[in-house]
Symmetry: C2
Subunit: 252 residues, 2 copies
DNA sequence: CGCGAACTTGACTGTAGTCAACCTGCGTGG
DNA sequence: CCACGCAGGTTGACTACAGTCAAGTTCGCG
């Protein structure tokens, strides 16, 4: 047992199952995917910007950020990914450099060959659908980031991001009062398009509602934080309807 | 022949073919999709925010914007879609309210039932893949919007957007010197997260490189505009490699 | 010809950026 | 065990880009 606790592929399947319906043999096909584990130290790039890959990166432990760079080298994060996320599943169908992946802390990645992902996606339409849907949820988050960065002031932006991560880190469908978020204030600025200095001031002014310290977040007043952060978790869930809607067609 | 010129579904197939390989019978399956045409006047919402749909919207003619709203009603566009685009293909796998769709000018939409899309996606894995890839290209554009809105100043932002649309409106892989872009300066602000007043000043300062007037864009100096706009069209293309990569597996 | 929407311009404001100094906590090595 | 170094955090003073407000002007359409 290389991975203490749970198998990262099982974590990934669980993530998919929260949004899509998969039969046992489909789940097994995913669990049987070939993987190559690689460890990265904090602050290292897992995939360099503009790098083309022939594998996707499953986060086994740790945390990663996807990022882009402007022409003059300014960095902007476009997503955070936690353990169990396939951080760049989308490269399966579009392998061209789609931004970089950066390890926020010591992180173990499982490389999963695109070829293997393609094979099971073709064999099992429900798997292709689950992968597609997973990418769409990521895109829904991205839309929120455009809104966040474009239209909200600093306090709202930071609060919204902290709410998003609290929701996504939750095991149930709710939120986590306390969660690991191993980012510096500089990196928080890369995500919210603020400077480190302004993030610092903003966090201080948010001190009654939430504390970000030593790489972890402690929420003191969820109701107030979501209100201030203009946060509604609806965009994070794929489906509230009956389970059958999670599947294009019953194959049986 | 209801639609003068070309069949909108054919336009959609062409768009897919520019990114994915589809056999004749797969193309025909798409062309056979049932559609319901609906006309919208300029400035009307095609899909209201938070509305759940059971169909996707194919733009037959005109132009639409996808948008989100902050809690206090400030609008932010997150994408523009031109004729031949399935503006919300992603709702097929995630039908929950994923933002609104707004007609920028008089626009004809073909409603395509999710159920029909699901059916052919399940029957033909290559179609599911093409749809998935199409959504990924949209997501790649969205990542650029985060970068644009988050990290670039007003001139660069506007220039970048105008470059994006010039590339996407091109029939070949290049760009269009002159193209229809029926937006007011207010709407340009909704896309770039600027106020109408500042868009106005910015456009004036860009006058040597590009003119935006009467709902159309005229580019005077493409090289300078892309340089100023920090624009590289790479993110718009799905694949530069050999054609076989456009398809997960050969089904034949 | 007249109305309204869109565009234009100027004056002033404000949020966040910049620059710079300093503090704090932690790991390393003398 | 303390000294040092360094990354990250904190604070203050000043700046600037874009927002706001308000008053015109232009354009297109009925």
């Amino acid at each position: 047992m290389i991975y203490p606790g749970s198998n990262p592929l099982q974590l990934f399947v669980n993530r998919l199952l929260s949004r899509s319906a998969l039969a046992m043999r489909e789940q097994e096909a995913i669990l049987d995917l070939p993987t190559q584990p690689i460890d990265f130290l904090a602050r290292r790039d897992i995939v360099k910007i503009d790098e083309d890959t022939d594998y996707a990166c499953l986060v086994a432990s740790g945390m990663v950020a996807r990022f882009g760079l402007t022409g003059d080298g300014v960095r902007q994060f476009t997503a955070f990914h936690i353990a169990g996320d396939m951080a760049d599943l989308h490269t399966t169908v579009r392998p061209l450099g789609s931004g970089g992946l950066h390890a926020l802390c010591d992180t173990t990645i499982l490389r999963v060959p695109h070829r293997a992902i393609r094979t099971i996606a073709t064999r099992f339409p429900a798997i292709a659908e689950a992968f597609w849907r997973d990418c769409i949820v990521d895109a829904a988050i991205l839309m929120q980031w455009v809104l966040n960065v474009g239209r909200r002031d600093a306090r709202t932006r930071v609060a919204h991001l902290l709410c998003e991560m609290a929701s996504r880190c939750a095991d149930d469908g709710e939120f986590r009062q306390h969660y690991a978020f191993p980012v510096t204030q500089e990196q928080l600025g890369d995500a919210t398009a603020l400077t480190a200095v302004h993030v610092n001031r903003t966090l201080k002014s948010l001190g009654d509602l939430v504390t970000v310290k030593h790489g972890s977040v402690q929420i003191h007043d969820w109701a107030a934080l979501t209100r201030l952060g203009d946060f509604d978790a609806a965009y994070l869930v794929a489906d509230t309807g009956p389970a059958r809607q999670r599947r294009l067609l019953d194959v049986e």
